[in-house]
Structures are given as C-alpha cells and as structure tokens.
Symmetry: C2
Subunit: 534 residues, 2 copies
C-alpha cells in the first residue's frame, strides 16, 4: 500500500448558508433593472420581504440527554442557540425557502451536535438510541426534497448531527488513484485538498459550493461533468458507515462478486440507514486543459439525437448539456451568441477536460459527429458563459422570490426511446397546473448510453398560496413521470417530497426490502425518521 496520511490543510473560508436564502450573502444578486423590467412584464413584480429572524420554539431535549450528548462530543460541540438551530432547519428547495421566508421554522432541530470523528458519531447515535432522539445527519444543508426534516412524533427531540468538523482528507493512494474523504467536506474544500495532491474528484453539481461529500453520497448526486467523470455513486469505491448497530466498512476491491453490492444500499440512503463517516472515491489527475463550447441545433429532438449518438459511440465529452427551445430563448442575456433570439433553436454546451492531446483528439472526433448530424458550432463564448455562471442559479432564484416570482426545478431520467413522451407529458402537467403566465424550461444535462436526464425549471407568479400552487404542479409532474415509467428523481433523492412516487417506483416488494434493511440497521428508527423509507 502506498497510501499517505494527509494532514489537515488550510481550507477555503467557510460561509454559513443564510436561513432564508442560498449561499453567501455577499454574492446575492438583486435583479438588474433590465431583468426586473422583464419580470414585471411577464409576471408582474410583487415584492415579498422575507422574515429572516423568526423566533423558534424552545428546544425540547431534556437536560439528561443534553448531558449525554455533551459527554459524547464535548461541551463546545452541543449547541441549542436559536441562530445555530435556525441554520439547520430544512434545506434549500423553494418550498423550504417559502416556509422560512414566512417565518415558519417549526422544523428546526432542538439541538445541533458536531462530532469530530467516526467514534463520536457512533457515540451520538448511542445516546440518541438510548434517549429516543431523532437524528438528522447534516452536511451542506442544500437538500431540495425534504431530506433534512425528521418526523418528531414519538421522539424526545430532534438532533441535527452536523458533520462540519469532519473535513479531513484521510488518505490518498496515487497508485490506485483513490482518496478517502470525510463527509463534512464541501465541494470546494475537497477539491482544494485534492488539488494539493495534483488530483481532482471532478464532481460539480450546481450545489457544489455548499454541498458535502457525505451529502453527495447519501443522495446519489450527479455533477455537471458527469459525462466525463461519472455520477457520484459511480465515483464511490468504499464507504465507512456508523449505524445504530455498529460500524460497517465496505469496498474491498474495484469490483467483486461477493454477494450483493451493499455499498449501493448506503448510497442514496439519505441518512436513514447510517451516517457516512468516510467515503473512498476514485480520483483523476487535475486536467491541464478545460475547453467549453456552444453548439446550435434546429430543435431539442435534433440535439438529443446528437447526444445519444455520442453516448452510444463512446464519444462523450466531459460536459454535455442541451437546452430546449424555451430554455434557450430565455437565456436572453446574449442571444447573439447562438445567432439571434426569436428563432435561436437549441443551445448545446460541450466541455472537454484533460491532457491537451486527449482533449484535442476528443474534441475533433465529437466535432466531426456533431457537424455531420447538422449541428452548428457557436464558438467558446456560450460555453465560457455557462461555465462562469454554473453555480449562480440559486442566487437568481432568491431575487425572483423577492420579486414574487415562484421558481423551482425538478428532474427525472428515462431511456432514449421514452424521452419524447416524458418531456411532453411532464411539461404538459406543469403547464396545465401552473396556468398563465408560467415558464417551463428544460434541459438534458446527464447522459448515458441508454438514456438521459431531463431537468425542468419553472417560473410562475406566486399567487396567494405559492406553496400549494407549487405542490399541485409538482405532484402532477411526478404523476406524469411515474405514468411514463421514468424515475422520480435523477440526482436529488427522495426525502419527504418524493415518497409517494418512490413507493410506486420500487413497488410493494421493494418497500418491504427497504423497511427490512431499515429495521436491521436502525431498530429504534432514530435515523432521519420519515425520510425516504415508505
């Protein structure tokens, strides 16, 4: 073994998320006048101030339990103050933000506990089992399907198990090209530690700046470079998990025929089966070159066929994305980049990362295929614009929510032969339930030989009951996904929000398996009660 222990290094400065907004307040972007004018024209502006400092109910955890938790992790790491609890309340879906903006913090945890290593996590679980406390593992707080909300009934309180202190790069194996990461590392922190070794994970979801390694694994995240680097679950080689019944270490080899792949039970388990305390990932050398380009297609269908052709020829770039006509048209800031606004067709982004010769060869091969299929190169400007703004959409959502415009996203995936139907049906369901004025935009951003994801962005007026308005539209969209035989989520997990459809997707036998595994690992049911498991 040539593993090296890597000491803790200086990490990028950490910013706490705002309780009612995304990300770093310093990076908030009020709508520019021009955009505000456009929003006013389409939706009507209806400024909606948020209640940022709503009061919390007093914590319900009793003194004896608090004392046990302090014994487990140290006094300094058990917090019950309002500010800390407020910041661990729910995630960052639009419904989460709407509730928080309205001052509804009923889902706040009672106590925030910060273990420093695997053994302290195990000690917290032991206390929680003995004192019958619900435990919500907490990483970046970027969940969008309700995965950070525990059912309270029957418990003596809710513990937010914050992994913020577990940010080490535990080992690097330069021969096997693997690294062992702690779960609390945010995307940029993990990349900084790996970059010091000349390595990268290459996992860049939109939540990259805040979401954590543990969260990526627990929700089966997929990054914008998934075509090149793979989904997060495909990057995971090994896992260490603290469960209420003990520790499990999985991942003895790159591949194995030793029974079912139990790693695949913990990937996507959303904190309900155990707490991931170390994640061994496949890493790659830092790319020497990154090139992002735009392509224009006459239609979404033409672009999708081109992507499918690349995927089935084994010629995928590192990044490949395709906006439908509506999303392309709404990217109005610089429509000239792909040749005019009104009939701009569909914009595709392709990205290449790696060694110069490999990038050049791949780019040439892809260019030949895309040109042959009727694509028109649009140069690097659209690609660079996309790359520069790739993590900014949640800030724009805040500004639109401020202006009374409801914005939310949802995503699914299916096989290529079913793509038209899924696209048409989900779009129709959203449009029908949101009424006018509403925008329904879509793009393909994760691609496989056999199919791809569809990611929808919706904008509509909030109306009097924005929560109910969204939930009805989303419910109809989810019904359409299941009716089309697609998956209820491609990379955002199940949480509370997708549970009814998840149960349909895996069927009654699947539900009984999930319940059996849950009971075996968490007999008291303390881990994220109510989340995922139907």
């Amino acid at each position: 073994m040539s593993q090296q222990n890597v000491s803790r290094q200086d990490l990028p400065e950490q910013t706490e998320m705002h309780p009612t907004r995304w990300g770093d307040p310093a990076r908030a972007r009020p709508l520019p006048d021009e955009a505000r004018g456009l929003v006013e024209m389409v939706f009507g502006v209806d400024d909606r101030p948020a209640v940022d400092e709503a009061p919390l109910a007093p914590p319900t955890v009793d003194a004896a339990a608090l004392a046990d938790l302090r014994a487990a992790v140290g006094d300094a790491h058990v917090r019950t103050d309002d500010a800390t609890r407020r910041l661990r309340t729910r995630g960052k879906s639009t419904p989460d933000l709407l509730r928080a903006r309205a001052g509804d913090l009923t889902d706040a945890p009672d106590v925030v506990v910060r273990p420093g290593d695997h053994d302290e996590v195990a000690a917290v679980l032991a206390v929680a089992a003995a004192r019958h406390l619900a435990v919500v593992p907490f990483g970046g707080g970027t969940a969008v399907t309700g995965g950070l909300v525990a059912r309270r009934e029957g418990f003596g309180g809710v513990v937010s198990l914050d992994l913020v202190r577990m940010k080490r790069l535990l080992a690097v194996d330069h021969v096997s090209m693997t690294a062992v990461l702690e779960p609390g590392l945010r995307g940029p922190e993990a990349e900084a530690l790996l970059a010091a070794e000349g390595l990268t994970l290459g996992h860049y979801p939109q939540s990259f700046e805040y979401a954590t390694i543990g969260g990526f694994a627990a929700t089966r995240s997929s990054g914008q470079s998934s075509a090149g680097y793979g989904r997060f679950d495909a990057l995971v080689v090994g896992l260490t998990v603290a469960t209420p019944v003990g520790r499990i270490d999985l991942g003895t080899a790159p591949a194995s025929a030793a029974g079912p792949d139990l790693r695949q039970l913990f990937l996507g388990s959303e904190g309900t089966l155990g707490v991931l305390t170390a994640v061994t990932v496949r890493v790659r050398r830092l790319p020497a070159v990154k090139v992002y380009e735009g392509w224009r297609w006459p239609s979404f269908a033409d672009g999708a066929t081109a992507i499918r052709t690349l995927a089935q020829a084994g010629l995928l770039p590192t990044v490949v994305r395709l906006s439908d006509e509506a999303e392309t048209a709404i990217n109005l800031a610089d429509p000239g980049a792909i040749g005019g606004a009104a009939d701009a067709g569909c914009l595709m982004i392709t990205g290449y990362e790696g060694e110069p010769a490999a990038v050049e060869a791949k780019q040439a091969a892809v260019t030949a295929v895309l040109t042959g299929l009727g694509g028109t190169p649009a140069g690097t400007a659209p690609g660079e614009k996309w790359a520069a703004g790739r993590f900014d959409a949640p800030y724009l959502r805040d500004s639109l929510l401020d202006a009374g415009v409801l914005v939310e996203t949802l995503e699914t995936a299916t096989f290529w032969s079913n793509l038209d139907r899924l696209y048409t049906d989900v779009k129709a369901a959203l449009t029908a339930h949101l009424g006018e004025p509403a925008l329904v935009l879509c793009h393909i951003s994760h691609v496989y030989e056999t199919g791809c994801s569809l990611y929808f962005t919706v904008a509509a007026t909030e109306g009097d009951e924005p929560l109910r308005r969204w939930q009805e539209a989303k419910s109809a969209a989810c019904d359409a996904m299941i009716a089309a035989g697609a998956t209820i989520t491609h990379h955002h997990a199940v949480g509370w929000d997708h549970k009814p459809w998840y149960a349909q997707e895996i069927g009654p036998v699947g539900v009984s398996v999930m319940r059996a595994v849950k009971h075996a690992l968490d007999p008291e049911g303390i881990l994220n009660p109510g989340v995922l498991v139907p």
Copy 2:
C-alpha cells in the same frame, strides 16, 4: 417507445452437460501424447476413471407436493428420473467433479421442475413455500462455488428449478440500445438472438458456452471482454424477479437517485432472494472488426504497470490480459510466439472490437503507450491462439483429472497499490499447502481504473485425498486474500465455498443486513438454503 417484441427464434443446438465432466462430450480432448508425457514427467500419471452412472437415492418429495408442482408447470415439466436429477447435481468446480467422479451424488435434487415463464416460476415458489421444499434455481449448471447445493435439513425435498424453457428475447430497443432477455438463455443462444438484430451483449466468460443470463446476473459474472463491454452487473439495466413475497420490477432509468439501488441486491444474490425471470441489458452493435494481439513484457510487474497506465488514461482495449512468468512459461505449445521458452517474460493479450476506424485509433493509441513503457509487440498469433482456445480450459481440466492431476482455479481482486502483496501472499499460501510438485499460475484478466483481478490456476498431484488437499490449499489462499484486504471473489460468487470469508468481508453489520433482506423476501427460507447468506 420503439420496443419490438421478438418472436422466439431458432437457437443453437443445446447440449446437456455431462454429469462428471465439462461441456459437450464430442469436444472432450484426451491429452495428446506429448502433453501426457509432460504431465507424467512433472506429476506422474495416475489414471482415474470416473463413475459416470452412480445410483441416486430415491426422491423424497411426496406425492401431494409433486401433484402441486405438476399443476404449476404441467406434467411434462416435472421430472424425477435419475438421468435428469443427476445432471442437476452440483456445479462444475473441481471439488464438484471429484465428488461426482467418485460416485457421490448425495446432493442430487429430488425433482426437476421447468417453468415456462414468470408466472410459472411464481407458482413453483408458492408450492415450495406451502410444502416447505427447498428451491435451487438452475441455469447452465456451471457454478464453481457450491451455489447449486441446497441445505436439505428441515425441508420436504429439494426442487431444481430449471430455467431451460425460459429462453426468449422478450424485447429489443434499438434506440436505447437495450434488450430484455429471459434467464435460461445460454451465452451463445443470447448472442445468436441479438446477432439477428445486429447487436451483441459482449459477455464472454470462460463458461460462455453453457452459462446462462440468469446465472451471469446472479453471480456477478465478468467476461473476458470486460475492459471493453463491462462486467455483467454493469450491463444490467433492469431486472424482474419472482420472490416468495411477490414480483419486483427494477430499473426505471439509466441512472436514478431514488433511494438505494435495489438491483444491486439481486445481482450477486445467487438465487437466495428470488428467481430472476427477465434481465434487461445494455447491448452494443455487433463489432465489424476483432483484432487480438500479443505483447511481451520483461516481468509481471512491468506488464501490470502498463495495464494500470492504460486504465487510468481511459485507453483500455476491449480485451486485456497478462500472464505471470509461470503461466507464460507453461503456455509451452508455441513459446516461439513470444520469443523463446525459458526466459519468455510475460505474455499480454490485447483485443480490439468495434468499427474499423475506432479500432484503428484505439490500437494506435494503446500501441504508443505500451511501446513507450517497454512492451514488445508479439504480433497477432498469440492473440488469435488465445481467442481460439478461450473456452477450452475446462476440457483440459477433465483430461488432467483423468490423469490424476488436480487442477482448479480461484480468483480475487484488489486495488493497484495492493497488487504485489496480494499476488505474493496468495501464491505463497497455495504453494505452501500443495507442496511439490505443484504449479501455481496467475493472470490479470479484468481491469479497472483503481485495480484489477488476479486469477490463479493450480495443478498438483491428486494424492489420496484430493478433496481435502485442495480444500486446505484453497482455505489458506482465502485467508491470504482476506488478510490482504482483498475480495474473496471477483466473478465466481460465494456459494457455500466462500461463506466463511464472505462473512469476514462484509462484517457483522453486513451479515445482519443480508439476513434481514433474506427474511423479508423469503420468510420461509426456501430459496437456495445454505448458499451465500451467512
């Protein structure tokens, strides 16, 4: 959906396996005189005739249960004759053959039942649960780790659930490049049906000619072209499973974040959690070109470094294999092919399949890397020789067993940085326990970015107690694998033979998960009792 229903087609003629030998009797190959001379020189020839027609104990299943089974699948498909039962007794490991050759058929099933579709499988399971019969799903009968032997105690008899009638290509989706196969299709049968559509699965394990689609999935098989096409578990998109508690259909999308990946519980489940009744696989277009070549390396370590370099550069050929010095030397039939026998170094085989331009480009890129790392091209002769004989080793084993030479294989996998240790320790364990004269050969045949498999072939004199002799050596090898942190099996499953080490590999928490899943899906414990689940 552009799925097409494909009607049943003419399949290659099916040959039953011989009860004490591999494959088709017409293809048996007595040792040529020259080889027999060599065997005599090294081991001493000790001809050992097999007992081919040993008597069986009468079946124990009672008349009422037989009547229920007949009602489930039809009279013609319930068989209790000796010949049929004999051919469903155990698998084809060397211990299995030694027992059968000695006339020990104590593990014969009592009744062989042949359901024709999913519903009939479900009906058989219902009868078995009601009558408390053990059920052993049976495909090609090529198991090598004891997976076809049910524990009898506590059951009213053992049913061999033979999937021989379930051989349809149920659907082909040329857009998504997927196909739905029934579990009883042998490798050549599946390839013939797909070839009629211009497609291939590309899964070619050594057992290809007899093993079945259901068996590939249930044991996490890996084919000799795994570098290009992927392991079988990576080819599986969807599964339909008949369990004692109902049917489950899995695989709604190419990728999903909807909870744990439950397909990964049934892959590798060895018939203990349900019977796979349909397997949806990723398919590829039939390759226009197949090229196989040889390369010579100064040492096993040099060749392994070259393979690792290819894997981590994303430059793997379709096939890549590397024999160690001992295996290279024993491939004596044509040592001139790689330049002389005594100091022949190590032989690598590389294979390329696909469209001519893609093959040419990949071959050029790989050749540049291998040449740069010190490899010497050995032309196409060694590659073609390997390709021509790739499924023949089990016939040679029969001939060697006839001559009193014990031959068996075992395999493992680990990360690259651990490869030297694993190779050294397993080889030492085998050598120490087999004593002289014994040959221990090894090759790498399945390769990943983070590591690879090691496949050992052992030849030794049988001695008075060949079974015990092998079991002690194998046990020591398995201990060495676990001590080295490697997996107990890369592509041959757990069965009975690997259970003690499997339990160590997944640990007590993993064992409790397996038991919970087993109990949820098979509450009566009728499915392959004793196999896999610790």
